[in-house]
Every structure is written in C-alpha cells, then in structure tokens.
C-alpha cells in the first residue's frame, strides 16, 4: 500500500526530504538551547558576570532566530510536500479512473469515488504532513535530548532510560486498544451516513408511509453505538495525558532528589559535578524526551485514522482496467458490419447464469436493426459488446469483419458510437456538448447533426440558441430534448455503427419516426442498431432481433416476426390495441 501511494510523491520528493532536514536543524537548536541556558545561569548569572550574560544571551538569541528560520523552512516545505503529494494523488486516482473499463466503473459507486478523491486524500495528506514533520522530529528530539543530557550527567540520565520503556509500553497498549474501537467507529460512521443519505433521498417514501418514527429508531440505534464506541475509545486515549504526566513528574522528583545530592557533593561546581544550571537543563530535557514520545503516539493515532483512507485510495489506484488494446493495433475499421458468433457474456466470472447466451447474428454494413425485449432481457448488455465497453466472456464479436479485440479501443469507439440509455449532458453550452463528438466541428456541422437528430428546431427556439447553457446533468432541458441532443452528439463522431439504446423513449412517436427517416436517408452507409420499447420504433427495420432472458428468441423482419414470434406479436398487440378497437 505504501509503495503504491509513494509513487505519487514525484516532484515533491525534494520538499519531502528537505522538511526533515530543516526539522533536524530546528531540533538541534531547540536541544542546544537548554544547554546554553544552563551556561548562562552558571557562568553568567551565578558568577555575576554581565559580559558573559550578554555574550551567551546573544548566542542564545541567534540560536532562537536560526531555530525560527529552520522551523519556518520546515513548515513551508512540509506544506509544499504534503499538498503537492495530495494533488498528485488526486490526479493519479482521477487518471486511473479515466483508464477504467465499464466493468471497473460498475465496481465503485460514484459517491465512493468522490469520497476517495476528496476526504480520503485529505486524510492521507494530513497524515503525510504529520509524518514528515513529527515522525522525524520526535525521534530526533529524543536522541538529541538524550545525548545532551548524557553529556551533562550520564548517571542522572539513566532516570529517563528507566522511564522511556515504561511510557512506550503504556502508549503502545493504549493505542492498540483504541485502534480496534476506532476502526469500529469509522464503520459505524459509514453506516450512519448511509442511513441519513437514504433517508434524505427517500423522504417522500418515509413521509408517504408515515415511517418517521421507524427511521428515528433506526438512526438512534446507530447514534447510540457511535456514542458508546467513541466514548470507550476516547476514554482509553484519555489515559495518554496522565500516564505522560506521571512519568514527567516521577522523573522530576527523582532528578530533584539525586540532583540535589550531586550538586551538594560537587559544591555546585560544574567542573567537579552537577550545578544548579545543569539541573535546570536536565529537567528541560526530561520534558523534551517525554514530549517526543507523546508526539510519536500522536503520529501513531493519525496513521491509524488515515490507514483506512489510504487503503481505499490504494484500491482505486491498483484497479487495473481489464480491457487492453488489441495486439494487432488495427486503427482502420473497414465497414459497419457487425457479427456475433457463439457469444456468451457474464458480468462477473462467478455469476451462475449467462447474461447473454449463445448469441449469433450478422448485420451487414448500412443495415438498420431493431432490438426488442422485456425488462432485464439483456438488450443493453448485447450492444455494449460492440464498442468493447465489455468483453464477451466466450465467442467472438466482429466489427468490419475483424474481431473487436484486435482494434485499438480508441479508434473502435470512434467508429462505433453508442447513445447510452443512462445518458448525461455536461454543464456547458449546447455547442460544447455536441463538440464532444468532434472537437473541431464547425458551427455548420453542429447544425447539420442537430437537424438530423430533430434537435435544431427546439434549439433555435431557445433565446441563446446553440449557445444555451446546459446545467449540470442537463436539468434545464426536457427528457426528450436531452435525448435528441445526445443523439446529435453521437452523430458528430460520424460513426460507422450507430447504436441507440432506448434513446428516443421520451420523444414523441412522430419525431421518433422523423429521426429514423433522417438517419436512413442521410447516413445510409452507417449501420444503425436501435433498442426500443415501442414496436413502432423498429417496425420498419431491415431486421429485428427479439431478446428474451439473454437468448435470441426470434429474428427477422416485422412481417416475418408477426408470424413466427409469439412474444413479438404480444408486444405489438399490447401497443396497438387501439388500432383494432
């Protein structure tokens, strides 16, 4: 996991290294200050030597200034390194999402991808900053302070040596106990979020069924468990401070007792033994050493908290697309013919049932083919194999007589244009949206495809025409208008195969017919595959494929199917009863 994440440090390596380097100087100075202070007290104040006081005072001030400078630089580089790392992480995650196949996209919910890109990255950023700042600072501090105190009096320094393991063990026990609880709390938090989220989006259902109290009790159960787990975890963490204080105070008293003996024995003479000034510094070092242990425990907590986030990020970063460009790298798609031979398809290896089972058919270039079938009959799955949104589990899918797996995906998808059932427009003008199909399209070309998709007429009625701004998700155009814009956008690619996946369901029958006529007349060489609910939408196709539960249950023209396919007849009759009424 760390390896994966570390790859994103890149150009911020320098800052990441410089942070601890400057931290090193800061700590060095911070540690030497008490020693200098001791000398100031002993040689200056006690000796009544004003010039010595001024000299040492000057040195001390300079040291503080340098320490400030080092601290400033360390802080600056830490910010640069951690925010840069986070930015690279976001960019890497997002970049990897762009490489995702549909399969990969299906695996992660939109909400979870957003959380990973935002909250999780921020958590990791904070932990990283903490690590490069404190994880180095604390041990450095510990070592320096320890050496400095050893230099003053190695016997008295043994007092710390006794307390360091005691404190370390305590902190370790506390953290590992709290860790388990914290992880549980985080899981419960996810649960709480999902309850609130579902409650919000399902508020109409909640109110319609008078389930306010029911929801309330559901929520209270979770909030209760957060309360109890969190209290438990924090109660354990609350031991941190007192344990630390205990060690500090014990060291202080022991230092006082033994220090007093040492000073008295030396006659408060630094040359012979311990002096009062040195005792003062020793006490300051005690604080520093134990503080740095405390800091380490703090870093530990941060790492615990961010670990879950880091894991979630790694999941996305390590997700590899299962679709790779064909070895042949064919970039030229000869024509728009489509052929399925013995195609089986499952969304996941361990699914028991095939979503598509033994599919065989051939569509000639330029034909119009309708696909009809009930809810869940795998119509969308079938067409998604053509532009390689998914790979067939078994069998071959050919476009232009060549297996789709031999093409470069990019060129294949440019040649096979799908208008997805769940389609979206992006915020931006209508022109911007249509240009998704071809970045360099001229205004005339845009108008042409919009006319083909019967969108030109309504676009022209907007005050801003083609420059009308589409809101996020296309909420300011109606369903039917949105569908027509999506068709225009797909046409802009000048595809060899055009797939309309229930793309005219919100368009009235008359316009629907107009669009079909325009497609037939204006792009006769493009193969058109139309999935529809309405029989009328496919009635005049060259061929109609009837799907039932993943099988082809019938194939032929309208006329043929009316005779051979019972399903087709039933659907036709259910939709055209009036005609006979």
């Amino acid at each position: 996991m760390i390896k994966t994440l570390a790859k994103s440090i890149r150009q911020y390596k320098k800052s990441s290294v410089l942070t601890p380097v400057f931290m090193f100087f800061e700590v060095l100075l911070e540690v030497s200050i008490p020693t200098l202070m001791a000398r100031l007290i002993d040689d200056g104040i006690s000796a009544g030597n004003m010039s010595e006081i001024l000299k040492l005072g000057g040195i001390l001030l300079a040291a503080a200034l340098f320490s400030l400078a080092a601290g400033y630089m360390a802080g600056k580089f830490a910010a640069h390194a951690s925010t840069g790392f986070a930015s690279n992480l976001r960019s890497d995650i997002y970049g990897n999402i762009q490489k995702f196949s549909f399969h990969n996209i299906d695996k992660f919910s939109t909400a979870s991808l957003i959380t990973r890109l935002t909250t999780d990255v921020t958590n990791v950023q904070n932990a990283y900053q903490m690590i490069i700042r404190l994880a180095f600072r604390a041990p450095l501090m510990l070592i320096f302070a320890f050496i400095a105190s050893m230099l003053i009096d190695n016997q008295l320094s043994l007092i710390f040596v006794a307390f360091i393991p005691i404190l370390a063990i305590f902190l370790y026990v506390i953290q590992s106990k709290a860790h388990v609880l914290f992880e549980r709390v985080f899981n419960t938090y996810d649960h709480l979020n999902s309850v609130v989220g579902e409650n919000l989006s399902g508020m109409r259902a909640v109110k319609a069924y008078n389930r306010e109290d029911y929801e309330d009790s559901k929520f209270k159960k979770i909030s209760m468990s957060i309360f109890s787990d969190f209290s438990k975890a924090e109660t354990i963490i609350a031991l941190n401070g007192p344990v630390m204080q205990f060690c500090v105070f014990c060291s202080m008293i022991l230092l006082a007792w033994f220090g007093a003996h040492a000073i008295v024995n030396s006659g408060n003479n630094e040359a012979i033994g311990l002096s009062t000034g040195e005792l003062t510094s020793l006490i300051a070092y005690t604080m520093q050493i134990l503080m740095s242990l405390m800091m380490l425990s703090f870093v530990f907590v941060m790492i615990v908290i961010s670990r879950a986030s880091a894991e979630r990020i790694t999941q996305v970063l390590n997700e590899r697309s299962d679709l790779i460009d064909g070895a042949e790298h064919i970039t030229e798609i000869p024509d728009g013919s489509v052929e399925f031979t013995g195609v089986n398809f499952r969304y996941s290896e361990n699914a028991e049932k095939n979503v598509l089972d033994n599919i065989n058919f051939k569509i000639n270039s330029g034909e119009t083919v309708g696909i009809l079938g009930g809810t869940g009959s795998s119509k969308s799955s079938l067409v998604s194999l053509i532009p390689r949104l998914y790979d067939a589990t078994e069998g071959n899918v050919k476009v232009g007589g060549i297996d789709v797996k031999d093409y470069n995906i990019r060129e294949l998808r440019d040649a096979v244009s799908v208008v997805l059932q769940k389609n979206v427009l992006f915020s931006g003008t209508i022109k911007d949206n249509i240009r998704w199909g071809d970045e360099n399209a001229t205004d005339e070309e845009i108008e042409r495809v919009c006319k083909l998709a019967c969108a030109d007429s309504f676009i022209k009625q907007f005050p801003d025409g083609y420059d009308t701004y589409i809101e996020q998700g296309g909420t300011n155009v109606s369903g039917g208008q949105k569908q027509r814009l999506c068709i225009a956008r797909a046409l802009m690619k000048k595809p060899k195969v055009l797939i309309l996946d229930d793309s005219t369901s919100a368009v009235d029958t008359k316009t629907d017919a107009q669009i079909r006529k325009a497609l037939r007349d204006e792009i006769p060489n493009t193969t058109k595959i139309i999935i529809a609910q309405r029989v009328a939408s496919v009635e005049d196709a060259d061929k109609i494929i009837i799907l039932d539960d993943g099988h082809i249950s019938g194939m032929g023209t309208h006329k043929e199917l009316m005779e051979t396919s019972e399903i087709y007849r039933e659907v036709y009759e259910s939709q055209n009863r009036v005609a006979q009424d």
Binding site: I41, A64, A86, Q98, R211, K220, L389, R413, E439, S574
Partner: protein, 657 residues
C-alpha cells in the same frame, strides 16, 4: 431521469448544489456557543467536576514550575553552603518535601485523568443528543425543505459539522479552558516572583500575539479560498464521475484530465498557502518563547547582579538566582498555553460555524398539522347498519371525527371521494404552477393524469397527501377538508408509488414490509406476487432475504419499481397513487402488473400518472394537464372522439416532455 435522483426537484436551476462548497464563515459565533452551553446543562455535576479537576491540575502544573525554585533556593543552596562550610548535610527535610510534592503531583494527575474521562462522556453525550435531535427534527420537516436543500449540504451537517464540533468539545474546549486556567495561575505565580519581569512578559506576549494574529489571519484567508476551490473541484468530480461512461464512449479521457488538472492545481496552491501559514505559526510562537526565555535571563541577571530592588506581590527584596530560574520556567508555562490557544482558535471558530448550521436545521419550522380527524379500521355495526371501530383489516376504513362540544365521535366511511375545488398552488409565491384546478375523483374509479413534464401532474398528488399545502381553494376527502385530517392518517390512507424509487439498505423482505411494518412474510410475498415481482426476487441470490445496498443499485430500474409497487401493495391502502410507477417496466410486464393492482384495488380509488398513454388508457377518467391547468377530461374513448389534445398525443402528433 438517470441523474434526477439527487437533484432538488424545485430548487432554482443552477443554484449552487455542491455539498462541500460552503465556505466557513470565519466569524466567531456567540449564539452557537451559548446554545452549546445549553446542552451542557444536563451535565451540571459532570461539568462541575470537570471544572474543578481542570483547575486542580492546572494549578499543580503551575506549581511544578515553582517546585524548581523551592528546590534550589530552600534546599540546594543552603545545603551547598553547609557542605562548603564543612558541616554535616541533612537531607531529611528535602526528602519530606519531595514526598509531599509527589503526593501533590499524584493528585494533579488523577484530577487531569478524571476531567478528561468525564469530558469524553459529556462531549459524546452532547453530540449524540445533537445528532438525535437533528435527525428527529429532520423527520418533522416539510417536504419543501428537502426539495430546496441539496442532500450533500444536509449530509455534511451529520458528518463534517458534527465532527468539527466533536473535536472542539472533546479536545479544543478542555485545552482552551486548561490553558486559560494555567495562564491565570502562572500569571499569579509570576507576580509572586517579580512584578517588573511580569510586566515585561505581558508586553512581550502582546507583541507575539500581534505577529501570531497576522499569520493566523493569512492562513484563515487561504483556508477560505481552499474550501471554495475544494467545493469547485468536488462539483466537477461529481459531474464527471457521474458521466464517466459517456466520457469513455466519446474517448474524452484526456480532455477531462486536462480540465481536472487545472482545478487540481488551483486547489493545491491554495492548500499549500493555507498549510504553510498554519505550519509556521508553531515555530514562530515557540521561538518567540525561547527569545522570551533568553531575554528574561539577561534582564533577570542584570537585576540580580546590579542588586536592583525587585517588587513582587509578596514583598520586596533582591531577585535570587532561584527566583530567576523559576521565573524563566514560568514564562514558558505562560507562553506555551497561549500559543496552544492561538492554535486552537481556528478549530473553535470552524466548529462554531458548523454548530450554527446545525442549529439552523434544528430551528427549521416543522410541518404543521392542525388536523384532528383520524383514520381507523372499521366494520359494519350489525345493530344499526352504521360503522364502528375495528382492529381487523376487512377492506373497510372510517374517518373518526371527534366533536369537541359534546365529546362524541362520529364515523364516516372512507370511500376515496376526492374533490378539488378551484385549487391554486405554487412552490413559491410568485410562481403559480396550478391554476383553478377542479376535479372530482369518484370512489372506486381510476383517475389518470397525463401531460408534459412540468404540467403539474406530480404537483397534484403532492397536494392530495399534503406534502405541500395549497395556496387557494379547497381539497375535500369524503367531504372532509383535508386540512382537518391528521397528516399521518391522511397519508396512511394513500398508498403512493413514486417515479423515483427509493429502496433502503436491508433485505428485499424488509423493503416490502416498509409498507406495513406488521405484515407477515406471507403477506409480503403475496404483495410481491401482485406486483409481478415474485419471479425475479426468487432468482436473486438469497431470494427475499437478499440484502439490497445503495438503494438497490444491483437491480434494474424496472425491478426496483416492481419492489416499490409491492411495498405499496402490502400497505393495502384505501386509495392509491401511482406516479409514473411503471415507466421503466416493459409494456408486457406492465400489463401483468396492472392486472394485479386492479384486482387489489377493486372498488377503491386509484390515481395514475404517466406519460405513456398505454398506461392510462383503461382509466375511468383521464385528465390532460397543460401548464398547470386541466385542458381536457373524459374517458379514453370520449377524448379520442373529441379529437383534442389527447387525440393528438395519442396519434403521435404531439410530444410529451
């Protein structure tokens, strides 16, 4: 409709709809603080204990610094003098003092543990109450609130804002209190040593704070910019990830990456600045503390050497060596907590801003309900042929109408006779969406609404169950003004299947049972059969016990609709509203579902809303809506015969949007 689910239905178009884009106001909110104190009222003894313990531990911490002075001046120096004079050295008094101090310290440690422990429970308890109150109150809010607030925003009350509050209550607040107590304690200790030196410390601290304030405000400024930039990026990611499949289909990955990088870089820059200033604050304060330490050494030394008279609140005299040393320690004890406070202040301000948003939700006006007419199961009274209360479901319901004057109760049979009398309505006052709607739904009939998106079809149903209240006119339900019916009972009488299906995390069975909590498994399965959902449910990995997550994301839209119809069927309501309930179901399955539902609702009133005409065709009365008015009504045959709008729609001359 793929993206409609998370959209506020009636929010102004293009309004900021990003949850995390809110900029925290960097203002200190006293009202929020006062209300948080209000929550602490329930914890009076605990808070008292906490305060006493904080006081105790802070005083002892301050005393720890004084300990050094006592040690040097009262013990070590005299002992050294004795030793140098060649006399016997007695460590007895020092031992006693050490033990006394040790006991003192232990009391301090215990105090600090107690306050932290108690504070954890208090803080978590307050948070639990706030969360519960928030959720409980949220359930009472009118639908208008949910339609006009983005879910992201409301969600963040429960996550970001409560979290900030938790940090503040559990960590910042005790720290700030403890720091302030120590500062005061240390201040008095300093005064006992030297007033002059104390004055110097004060001046120095004021100077330090000016610098710290400058840095903090820079950091704050960039922090605001960072949040804005973060919101911007979040919005972008949300839109793009939602359309990820479209991006793939159009090979637009590189283009999207370019735009993303630009926004990402902007965010990085702002984050970098905000963090830089925040990081720099500590070394600045720390080293100013060091400088203070040095300056005190120099000034104190000058005092001591030149024998300048010192004034302290305990008297006057010459500054001793021990006094200087311990004063220097005290100065750290003064400076450190102050820099802690300055560090915490940003968190506190942020937490209070969050608390303010939470309180806005809690203060939101709940749905009003002045109804007094209730709904009850009923049975025929054999004696007089009237109705009486029953606790068995027998397909008979009655309105329970209490009369205040004489305390009697009358029962009116629920027939499902719904009348709109000249109703006007608008989601906001200046935009009326329904005009002069008058209609009568006869009991037991199937009434259909057709019309374009925005014609007001769903709005009419929103009014029947009082999700919204009408502006003008009257709606009567079996002759009773619906304003007089208790909302809960009104809604209980209406089963609604909505276009946007909302399933909850839980098993399929639990989701169906949501319609009627006391329904048996068999009743749920029967309902699923009615909805034609039984077949596919049995194909799921664990059948009815299959756990649905993420709103049933593993199911197709059509399958979700079938479950939601089953949910309404199990509720077995006297009146049913089907709002585009079968829009994603193919026409063949739809025919089967309709047959099942017609059987269930036989003799009861049903409202059907659809844009697919085959769905409404067999209704008894079809109403065609346009721009909030009913332009045609009649049966299918009548409307076809009249060659009006419906006829045009039906023959495909017009498009419904």
């Amino acid at each position: 409709m793929a993206n409609k689910k998370d959209e506020p239905l009636y929010a102004p178009k293009g309004a900021a709809r990003r949850g995390m884009g809110r900029v925290p106001g960097m203002k200190f909110s006293w009202t929020a603080l006062r209300r948080i104190f209000g929550y602490l009222k329930n914890y009076k003894p605990q808070v008292a204990v906490v305060l006493v313990c904080i006081l105790l531990s802070s005083v002892i911490m301050a005393a720890a610094a004084l300990f050094l002075q006592v040690l040097i001046d009262d013990y070590i120096t005299p002992l050294v003098a004795l030793k140098l004079a060649g006399k016997a050295v007695d460590y007895g008094p020092l031992l006693t003092t050490c033990i006394k101090i040790g006991v003192f310290f232990i009391v301090g440690i215990i105090a600090s543990y107690i306050f932290q422990r108690v504070m954890v429970v208090v803080a978590q308890g307050v948070l639990k109450r706030i969360r519960d109150e928030m959720f409980e109150h949220m359930q009472t809010l009118p639908l208008r609130y949910f339609d006009t607030h983005t879910h992201g925003d409301v969600m963040s009350f429960y996550t970001n804002d409560t979290d900030a509050l938790r940090q503040c209550l559990a960590q910042s607040a005790p720290q700030v209190i403890a720091s302030l107590v120590s500062v005061v304690a240390v201040f008095f200790s300093m005064l006992t040593v030297s007033i002059w030196l104390t004055l110097f410390v004060i001046v120095f601290v004021l100077f330090s704070f000016t610098i710290a304030g400058k840095i903090a405000s820079k950091s704050g400024k960039y922090f605001v910019a960072q949040q804005q930039s973060l919101g911007d990026l979040n919005g972008y990611i949300e839109e793009m990830v939602n359309g990820q499949k479209v991006i793939k289909v159009f090979n637009h990955e590189d283009k999207v990456m370019e735009e993303f990088s630009e926004k990402n870089e902007h965010l990085r820059d702002k984050m970098n600045q905000a963090n830089k200033y925040a990081n720099v604050l500590m070394p600045v304060m720390g080293n100013l503390g060091n400088a203070l330490y040095v300056l005190l050494g120099v000034i104190g030394g000058t005092f001591a050497i030149n024998g300048i008279m010192n004034v302290s609140i305990t008297g006057t005299g010459v500054l001793t060596l021990g006094a200087i040393v311990s004063f220097m320690q005290l100065s750290r004890g003064f400076m450190n907590p102050l820099s802690q406070v300055s560090n915490q202040l940003n968190f506190v301000v942020m937490a209070l801003a969050g608390a303010e948003r939470i309180f806005t939700l809690i203060d939101e006006k709940p749905e009003t309900d002045d109804g007094y007419v209730g709904l009850t199961l009923a049975m025929r009274d054999n004696k007089n042929g009237g109705l009486k209360k029953s606790d068995k479901r027998a397909g008979l319901w009655a309105w329970e109408h209490p009369h205040k004057e004489d305390g009697t109760v009358t029962y009116t049979e629920l027939k499902g006779d719904i009348v709109f009398d000249d109703v006007d309505f608008g989601y906001n006052e200046n935009k009326i969406v329904l005009h002069n709607i008058s209609l009568e739904a006869e009991p037991g009939k199937k009434i259909a609404f057709v019309g374009a998106t925005g014609a007001g079809k769903t709005t009419i149903t929103n009014l029947i169950n009082r999700f919204y209240d009408i502006a003008d006119g009257k709606i009567r339900y079996d002759g009773i003004n619906i304003n007089k019916i208790k909302k809960a009972d009104l809604r209980r009488s209406l089963g609604i299947v909505l276009q946007d299906v909302n399933l909850f995390t839980g098993t399929v069975m639990e989701n169906i049972r949501y319609g009627r909590l006391e329904a048996t498994d068999q009743e749920c399965i029967n309902a699923a059969k009615t909805a034609n959902a039984d077949g596919f449910i049995r194909m799921l990995p664990d059948g009815y016990e299959t756990v649905l997550t993420g709103g049933g994301s593993g199911l197709s839209q059509g399958q979700r609709q079938l479950i939601s119809i089953a949910r309404a069927a199990v509720a077995d309501p006297p009146v049913m509203i089907l709002d585009e309930a079968t829009s994603s179901i193919d026409t063949r399955t739809e025919a089967l579902v309709t047959k099942g539902m017609d059987a269930l609702m036989k003799g009861r009133t049903v409202f059907v809303i659809a844009h697919r005409l085959s769905t409404v065709r067999n209704s008894d009365l079809i109403m065609v809506l346009e721009n909030g008015s009913i332009i045609e009504k009649g049966s299918h045959d009548e409307l076809i015969a009249s060659h009006g709008k419906y006829y045009q729609l039906y023959t495909g001359a017009f498009e419904l949007e």
